[in-house]
């Protein structure tokens, strides 16, 4: 019964401000609470309408019911700001990045999210100037029409009001799609929180507050009112004691550790599908554990604040602490059983008092929770006590080769040989999952009774999820999704796949962002292969699986399909200083809803937009896919592919991140790229790329006396700021490494391939010049003479300057008669590198090496 109550309150919390959305269409009259009430009467199944009184009553004076008081209090805590009377409503949602201070800087101008349903389209995802007054109402009306239509589907599906939890989650997903861009007009100051984020935070808090008796809720509401009044007189008025003393909720965090090793420590044999499968399984596992915790605590889905990429955050009741300790043991036991200690879930909690939701304190709390998680990870499996923890000592007995899996190296009784490689059942199950993912358009989940008896020996991913009470799978067509009559979820992995999706009484439907970019062998690859010389073709065909059509391309093929030198590119990239952005970026404006908004925005980019970019950049003109997403979520990503495509992807991601973040100069990312052969061990490649990324994070540059850190890329062993590397569209020029590389490549390409046939010695010379420079700089740095009095790095003048000038001029003259274009180009380069411009010496060699690799003749 209590569980049912929690769902009712959650629904009331979720819909408490829906009237504000309706009001904006201009078609609904009255205060937002009245409009909300009317919405409930028209669109919510009759059976639940009575539970939604708080939608109408949460602003009543006095508040008439316990439920209305819960929502009113949750509303205020979630907003974390003083409640203003029905103020003028902001027209559009300000990008949360415009409220952010990072690197001591702010976004140059206010940008607003477009008023569009959430789809991965340029016009919906990127913030822009605000719409003209005259366009706003029309935009809201269009948005509302879509929302209304979907709400009707939902009403029809739930006409008999059977499963509130299904209805609640469907409504939550609906709000995410349509209300993500609608400002929650509550706030006195800045309209940067969406109604979606505010509503779900209110729902979560309301459920936690149900533990407080009514008299206590009254007391808290009164104390808040008093505090608001006192703060109006003196900004630093301390909160009344009850706001500091009452724990109102627990902030709970879960973090799976061991992820890196789990994904990368596999051999190259059969790695392509296994890799994707392993990474995706981790995402499913995170979800399964998060839902398991919710189910065990009897909390509705609205209490899950974030899940993805190996961690989740949720809000629990103060009394849930002891149950959390049990859950911690249960989860560890299951993970230990199936993963022998490779994967561990750190689960930590932190009490929140009412005052924690004000004055930016919530982000410090969040930071403290992250610290708890970090410490919990250092005591892996400690909750199991000494006896059980011993179990995760290495399992195998060593030397039993017939049972050792050639992919993961573990001994397993059920190994069998597949494509000449001996594999264990878990590895086979990851491969199968990876293979199924390549055409997946839907992810489905079904709740089931958690197995009491843990599964026996096989230990494939499905069994592990089952142990957490979840069955999952992917499907290309809806007809392939099983229907057992139990609660289930069908989540579209593509925007277009949403269209055929209809909810029913036991099926939640919605959109799930997932970067799923898989290079599949197809007709274009067959034709490409057919054009190769016989010997090379034969060698590559050997790498292909039997009947390669529709299967994931092996690394060897991605390597061979590079432009220029055949190499696999491995990219790792993440947002710089993310922890600080969350902990300090919002300052004392940090509210519960704002933190949620920032987290939503960052995942929208890394779990959504990155996919669009990768699909676009990865495809060649003749239709071959050359990029493979191993992982992208939270704030970081890992891609593998043909090396030249990988570099272009990194550039595109960096460029769009700025556009996405409202041109905020303090929101940036660093990337590391390693080039390896297709048979190079993956965990080493991952390590190489990781070290490159760390190198990029060491980048610093000075502009106008101000030091900028990070925001760099390390490529071909050199770390350089993005600004200098170049994030512009592909073009030729001398301003950036990227434009110069393209220019040099065409300059030195053969004539029959459209080049200018300048000698390759040009590239060699530029490379040598930079080497000389780098060596001299290193020596000078040892002498401590590489900086001037202001501490700025100096351009080092030396022989490379006159030698380079001389060499280029001479080369230009040599071509004057026969090839004026080359002569002009090389002469231009000499002039460009003259005098003060010689700063380019720091990166010209990188451009030349890049051009050289691009132009490398593959037949030699």
């Amino acid at each position: 019964m209590e569980r049912e109550d929690a769902y009712r309150i959650a629904l009331a919390g979720l819909l408490h401000d829906i009237g504000k959305f309706a009001q904006r269409t201009g078609g609904w009259q009255g205060a937002h609470t009245e409009v909300g009430g009317e919405f409930v009467r028209q669109f919510v199944p009759e059976g639940w309408q009575a539970d939604l009184y708080p939608v109408m009553g949460h602003h009543d004076e006095p508040l008439l019911t316990y439920e209305a008081k819960l929502i009113a209090l949750a509303d205020r805590l979630s907003a974390g700001e003083r409640l203003a009377a029905e103020a003028a409503q902001p027209r559009q949602l300000l990008s949360i990045f415009c409220s952010l201070t990072a690197d001591g800087q702010q976004a140059p101008e206010d940008k607003y999210w477009p008023l569009k349903p959430l789809r991965l389209e340029e016009a919906a995802v990127f913030p822009d100037e605000s719409l003209a007054e005259s366009q706003v109402t029309a935009a809201y009306s269009a948005l509302w029409r879509g929302f209304e239509q979907e709400t009707r589907h939902l009403l029809k599906a739930h006409a008999r009001a059977e499963s509130l939890s299904t209805y609640l989650e469907s409504m939550l997903l609906l709000l995410q799609r349509y209300v993500w861009c609608v400002p929650s007009a509550y706030y006195r100051s800045v309209p940067d929180v969406s109604l979606y984020d505010h509503s779900r935070a209110t729902a979560a808090l309301a459920v936690c507050l149900m533990e407080q008796p009514e008299t206590h809720i009254d007391e808290l509401l009164r104390a808040l009112k008093t505090w608001h009044q006192e703060r109006a007189k003196a900004l630093d008025a301390p909160p009344p004691p009850v706001l500091e003393e009452t724990t109102v909720a627990l902030l709970v965090g879960g973090d799976i550790s061991g992820v890196q090793d789990f994904i990368y420590t596999i051999t190259a044999r059969g790695a392509t599908s296994a890799l994707r499968g392993r990474s995706f399984y981790l995402q499913l596992l995170t979800e399964a554990v998060a839902r398991y915790v919710l189910r065990r605590l009897e909390l509705p889905i609205t209490n899950l604040l974030y899940q993805g990429g190996g961690h989740f955050y949720l809000l629990a009741r103060p009394s849930d602490s002891s149950c959390l300790a049990e859950i911690r043991q249960e989860v560890s036991r299951i993970l230990l059983r199936y993963h022998q200690g490779d994967l561990y879930l750190a689960l930590a909690e932190l009490s929140l008092v009412a005052a924690d939701f004000y004055e930016g304190r919530i982000s410090q709390k969040w930071g403290a929770l992250v610290e708890h998680l970090r410490r919990a990870k250092q005591r892996r499996f400690a909750e199991l006590g000494p006896g059980l923890a011993d179990l995760f000592a290495p399992q195998g007995h060593g030397g039993n080769e017939e049972r050792e899996c050639q992919v993961c190296g573990r001994e397993h009784p059920g190994t069998r040989t597949d494509d000449d490689v001996r594999k264990c059942p878990p590895c086979l199950s990851y491969e199968e999952l990876g293979d199924r993912l390549r055409q997946a358009r839907y992810l489905w989940l079904t709740e089931m009774k958690a197995d009491d008896e843990l599964g026996a020996e096989s230990g494939g991913w499905e069994e592990v999820l089952r142990a957490f009470g979840l069955q999952a799978g992917v499907a290309e067509e809806l007809t392939a999704v099983p229907n057992t009559g139990r609660p289930r979820w069908i989540l579209a992995l593509e925007d277009d796949a949403m269209d055929n999706l209809r909810p029913d009484a036991h099926t939640v439907v919605g959109r799930r962002l997932l970067v799923n970019v898989t290079p599949v062998y197809g007709k274009a690859d067959e034709e490409w292969l057919g054009r190769l010389p016989k010997a090379q073709q034969g060698a590559l065909r050997q790498e292909l699986p039997q009947e390669p059509q529709g299967k994931i391309k092996p690394f060897a093929l991605l390597e061979a399909q590079s432009t220029g030198i055949p190499r696999l590119g491995v990219l790792r990239m993440d947002v710089d200083n993310l922890g600080t952005l969350f902990a300090k970026g919002l300052g004392d404006q940090a509210t519960f809803s704002r933190v949620a908004a920032l987290s939503f925005a960052i995942s929208l980019f890394f779990e959504g937009w990155v996919e669009v970019l990768a699909k676009r950049v990865g495809k060649t003109a003749d239709g071959r896919d050359r990029l493979y997403s191993i992982y992208s979520g939270g704030d970081d990503l890992f891609f593998v592919g043909s090396w030249d495509a990988v570099v272009e992807l990194a550039r595109k991601i960096r460029a769009d991140l700025t556009r996405f973040a409202a041109d905020h100069p303090g929101v940036h990312a660093s990337a590391g790229i390693a080039l390896v052969g297709g048979k190079y061990p993956l965990y080493q490649a991952a390590g190489d790329a990781g070290r490159a990324e760390a190198q990029a994070k060491e980048v610093r540059r000075r502009v106008n006396g101000r030091e900028h850190r990070k925001d760099g890329i390390a490529f071909l062993g050199q770390a350089i700021p993005w600004r200098q590397f170049g994030v512009e569209e592909c073009r030729e020029g001398m301003e950036t490494v990227h434009s110069l590389a393209h220019w040099l490549e065409r300059l030195t390409r053969d004539e029959q391939d459209g080049g200018a046939k300048a000698p390759k010695a040009l590239l060699q010379m530029l490379i040598r010049l930079q080497e000389q420079y780098a060596e001299a700089t290193k020596e000078r740095a040892l002498l401590g003479e590489d900086r001037n009095k202001a501490g700025e790095e100096q351009v080092y003048y030396g022989p490379w300057m006159w030698r380079g000038h001389y060499f280029l001029k001479r080369m230009a003259r040599r071509y004057e008669k026969d090839d004026p274009e080359v002569a002009k180009a090389v002469d231009g380069l000499a002039e460009h590198l003259h005098g003060e411009n010689f700063r380019a010496i720091e990166w010209i060699g990188l451009a030349a090496r890049w051009a050289e690799l691009l132009g490398r003749d593959r037949s030699t």
Partner: protein, 152 residues
């Protein structure tokens, strides 16, 4: 002191500039700027590489010898001054004379310096060994720019 040339477009570094170029490792920017300017002017005055090939060859040889037999190298360096004066008089046109008018005082800053003290890092302030390296670089840079501007 030599006379200022009649051609007023030819600018010569002051003795202070020359001292900085030869004795101060942190004045490489000045070295490059002057070499560039001199290279261009000398080309305009019609300097040919063959006119000074012997001189530059001698500097390169001294540079090589410096590591093997410093004393003998130094003797050759001292003898370079009269050789330069001879070239300046013998070659046609004023170009070589102008070049020598710059190189001679520069060389003087090498010859008059004390050897680099034992144990001191190369590439440091005013000492004979490093000054000579800088002198050779200066000479090389002038010729490189001279050629870059089309000098033959």
């Amino acid at each position: 002191m030599m006379q200022q040339p009649r051609d007023s477009t030819f600018q010569r570094p002051s003795n202070e500039d020359l001292r900085a170029i030869i004795t101060n490792p942190n004045e490489a920017k000045k070295l490059v700027e002057w070499a560039n300017r001199l290279g261009k002017s000398l080309k305009d005055m019609g300097l040919t590489t063959s006119q000074i090939r012997a001189l530059f060859g001698e500097v390169r040889q001294i540079q090589a010898e410096w590591r093997i037999n410093r004393q003998r190298a130094f003797r050759r360096l001292v003898l370079l001054r009269p050789k330069m004066a001879y070239r300046a008089r013998r070659e046609r046109g004023r170009a070589v004379e102008e070049l020598v008018a710059v190189l001679d005082p520069a060389l003087n800053h090498v010859i008059q310096a004390d050897p680099r003290p034992e144990g001191q890092q190369p590439g440091t302030d005013d000492n004979q060994d490093d000054n000579f390296q800088r002198f050779a670089e200066f000479f090389e840079a002038i010729l490189a720019y001279h050629k870059a501007y089309g000098g033959q």
